[in-house]
Subunit: 386 residues, 4 copies
């Protein structure tokens, strides 16, 4: 392989422990790989050039671990972090694996489940803060329903916001330097999940008690499962100042959650994702949330993890070349792309200054936008032939 | 047909003029029906029991109408309204049909197009106000892109909000009793449309200058094209106090925009839509935005329009029966649906009062939710056998 | 509940043992229900009025069972069958659960895996024949790929056909009274599965050595995951004389494989499925392949199983009422539906007898098809208001 | 732009006249470009390096053209062909644009419409033969339904096959050197179209009177609208010896028919499409069926057409480099891809020679397939960095 595109901690790549640690259990088959202790994931990711990790509580210790087991597992994790210099960028709670969460966590119909979910989260917030995480993720994978009467959606949103409000208070009162990021998903494992898209999560955040503490953590695959354009989605999140974290991976449109390695899905989309991130406004880690396919053994796990980072670097290089290519600059001008940054009303103008009569409708109707040329230039950068 | 389910103006059913007026032109074929003057649509809809209509400027008069033609067409429309008592509930602007809008209206790269779009909208706001409309719809069908570089999404959102802010000022300064409703759509006719879902629109509204003046007008088919649950979507919109208007129709999942008559799509979904609307919080007209299929002649047009209203009444009757059925009430209790309305923290409690230790994890994990029984009861009400 | 719609063995309802036996393990969570021995499933299904069962080898005994364990498990299964009178209608092989099948079975790149898959299938064909099954299903859930170079598709189809040809020989030489049915699926658990739709399987069967021994076993959800119309699909399979078996369940369009109970998905689609089956040509069992949602306990499992049968009976009653309703018969005539059964060329005519001049293009173009009225009548039968 | 990747007639690129000639009319907007006479399309395509064209009758002359107009239009088309040397590779009939075809052509309920469709097709078969076309396409865009009772699917398949059988006889009796290719599509403009995928069309062909005369013409976008893998689909068509023609373009999964230029859709998919075509077995023209977006003027039309060819050449070059890269060859071996070409049974073996005992289940289960490495190599060729 080329010697370029070698990741370093400066690139700020991070991985969920559950990504490389996925054993391959799915609805139709059993595990194909052995469990991976957190410390092993940390050491291998460090070797590959990663910067940080993200973890669920139960990625480090089992749901049913005793206190002693928990301590032992955390200690091993910490030791690996210390030895490798890998950073804990982010943490989250497993509120979906155990049967107690089969109807959700913060929006479970049963109040006891909701209380348990809060307690479990608070305990892991302590650990997250202790390990230096700066962002805490909320993926409400079981917050949803398969049928219409099962869930009172408005009550559920009340409870969802209540839960996040309580946890915001907790973080504030504890003095933790943590902010929250909601990860939307449209469906799977529930028939329909609450806060199904970036937009729904952004709107919901606006109704929380401490909206400034909460942003979004959008995942490529989750938006693409709903046929939504991820680059557009994160651009809107950036526009609202709410892109707190990202989950990069690959997906082939509306179907099961594929969690392909970054790059191995919608390639053209990935180019625009990196372009959007490079354009500025996002300062979190470049985080991958993927699953090494079930066909892979341990070697394949690390090859896929390395490839996620490598593909990001390849695309970053292409995006930079694209944006500095004089032909592209000319094509952007020909397509009047920059003109969209000019306000529609000039300084001091009001609606009174706008009249239909001022424009030549026929001429504007006939004028081509030149987008095919512009997009072809982008594609040729993607293809690496410019 | 049964004598029940006959619509009356009290049911507040309304139709877009463009629905029954659709001539059947699509990408692959020419018109199959003659143009329908607005006054004919009004008279026929009144006969069928509708309450109101919704119109684009160019549903009443052509884009290129002279002033005299425009006046004549508006007069004929008005006359029919007056004679039938049909109400103009809503109006909107055609900012997508003419070639000038091929790159969008409020987010067109070209500033002149954006100014023209504002002027065209203001002129129709005048007419809308004059005719008594209370809601003004914004469907940005051409606000989007087929390719990544063509549109600077953040600049586009700046311009989109600028446009709406200007128009809000216009309405306020004119003293019109109008509020705005944004209609989201994920794609078609553009590859990806800005504000693609209810959530994206709700979030965007929060960033406008006069957020209280602006809500959403979600369409069943538009959300279902993105595999999203429409009933969940409008429930979230209601939760935010933003369901200003609705577009009911039918769709079969992610594919082209089918605009089937209400009922003739996702039937189970339609039941929950009516249930959500009946649960309260929505006080606008029950508006249909569908297209009589191209296989239909004039008679089929009116049969399909009548069927939209009839299906709503049928479903409304079922939903009411479902909610008052003692077995359903018992099943809801068995599923602890009402318990979700109990706050997770009791009055006066804080996070300090919540502990993992308080719950019996094994017991809660093993307890079934009873949703299959509950959903089967709903289905049997839908089937009309209870 | 109503006393109508109570299933009896005459209705020939059957279930896969794996349906009611699903423990709820998915990609994101662990089992929520204990394992269900085959004999328990048999006894409960018999109580509910089922006629038969369908099984994978490893639904009865574990992949790694010893011979003694295998014998004990089969004996218990047999005993329950004998005591209840339940019939084994169908059987199949689990060629997807164990890690050895991670790259497929008959189309695994590794020849040894393919040989093992054949041997495992032959052993279960023996059991299937012994237990009286008449149809043997092939769902190639792992026959596919996530990436382009991994699988030589043409070689894979060679091996797939080789495998089925060998197994056809086996059945013939053993003298078993069994025919084969291929179950198509587009994706999940593989990125793309070979023979992704009814059509692909039908075409493939035409290229086998013993095409008359092989038909299809289409599943509602699998076709709907690809946005395909299941009723149309089984109608085409019937047209080819190849609808050997069916898998009924529920799905909400392109997303993960939901396996909802029959009726609780695309309701309008389900009506036409039953209509197509009732129209004749299918003589196999009415088989359900669904999964009781993870929210359910044991009671919910049986309620969902009972509801599958009940919903079929409800829809069957509606379909019969629809087809015998005089208004429907008149509407079908008005839509010239029966005219499609008249050959385009009259007896004795050839292309020489056909001329463009004979038809009145304008009149035919203007004539409406009356489909909205016809479909509304169907919908009202579905709603139970006619 | 690079001087490589310049198309020549030897590359055998062809375009439908309707592609560059699309005026931009869609459901929501009017034409944005003037009509393009066939002779202009021919001359411009020749300049760009194309080899051939494909036409519908009504791409050359209007549906309602007089004989004199028809002759004049054909003469102009012919003249341009003669002057440029462009070949007519393929032709087809417009059986979808006029209102007479609103319910289909060969499967219209009305017999008169079916007869008219046959006559219209025969007349254009004469022209196709005269102009030297070797393949005649059948895209049944209106052969379908929006509702269940409207179309008796089995009767429709009878009529569809009758129509093709009649036309096969016609071609045979006329002695034309033409074969037929059916183009499948799942939906749009009909709710569900008959023969919705490559597989359904292949199966149907097997039931025709002259199956050897009929193959398929699959379009990338049409298969991807149903989430199907196009490369897999054409591989199966090649396996059946039925890939008579291809329609290359771009699409972003299940949504409206986008008809993007080739390359500007699923880029990773396009790589495997070209790889499958290059692997051999297809000897038809490399045909593009796309639509220049409505944002483009005449210049954009030709830029997009040129880009289709250029992208094919770029991808062809990459695919060849991929297949000859020693690391790829080693990775293919490591993934045992070639082993799939070894029959599962050795020469002379029968089922008696296969035993489960011969394989080491645990070892095979644990062995990784190395697909992530292999796919990453492919991706790096696509990115142009190897």
């Amino acid at each position: 392989m080329s010697t370029e595109y070698v990741p370093t901690p400066e690139d700020r790549f991070s991985f969920g422990l559950w990504t490389v640690g996925w054993q391959g259990t799915d609805v139709f088959g059993t595990a194909v790989r052995p469990p991976m202790p957190a410390e092993r994931a940390v050491r291998k990711l460090a070797e590959l050039g990663a910067y940080g990790v993200n973890f669920h509580d139960n990625d480090v210790f089992d749901f049913s671990a005793t206190e002693a087991e928990r301590d032992e597992r955390i200690a091993a994790f910490r030791k690996a972090l210390a030895e490798t210099g890998l950073v804990v960028t982010t943490a989250t709670t497993n509120l979906f694996g155990h049967p107690i969460f089969k109807d959700g966590a913060f929006t479970a119909n049963e109040r006891e489940v909701r209380r348990f979910a809060l307690a479990k989260t608070m305990r892991n917030l302590d650990l997250a803060a202790e390990l230096g995480a700066r962002t805490y993720i909320f993926w409400g994978g079981r917050e949803g329903a398969e049928s219409g009467a099962a869930k009172d959606v408005r009550a559920a949103l009340d409870r969802y916001s209540e839960g996040l409000n309580v946890l915001c208070s907790y973080v504030q009162e504890k003095g933790y330097n943590l902010r929250f990021a909601i990860e939307p998903k449209p469906n799977e494992p529930r028939g329909d999940i609450l806060l199904p898209s970036i937009g729904h999560a952004l709107a919901f955040i606006g109704a929380l008690e401490y909206p400034s503490m909460v942003g979004v953590n959008p995942e490529i695959g989750h938006e693409e499962m709903a046929s939504l354009n991820y680059a557009h989605g994160i651009a809107q999140a950036l526009w609202h100042g709410k892109l707190f974290h990202i989950d990069l991976n690959g997906q082939h449109g509306p179907r099961y959650d594929q969690d392909l390695r970054f790059g191995a899905g919608n390639v053209r989309g990935a180019f625009w994702v990196v372009d959007t991130l490079e354009a500025g406004g996002y300062d979190g880690p470049i985080h991958f949330d993927y699953k090494p396919p079930r066909t892979e053994d341990d070697r394949g796990v690390w090859e896929s993890a390395a490839a996620c980072m490598r593909n990001y670097l390849i695309l970053r290089s292409k995006v930079r070349a694209f944006r500095s290519d004089p032909e592209v600059i000319a094509a952007l001008a020909a397509s009047r792309v920059g003109e969209l940054s000019s306000p529609t009303l000039a300084a001091g103008e009001t609606w009174r200054d706008v009249s239909a009569a001022e424009v030549d409708v026929a001429a504007l109707g006939a004028r081509g936008m030149g987008y095919e040329r512009l997009d072809q230039l982008a594609l040729e950068h993607l293809y690496g032939i410019r």
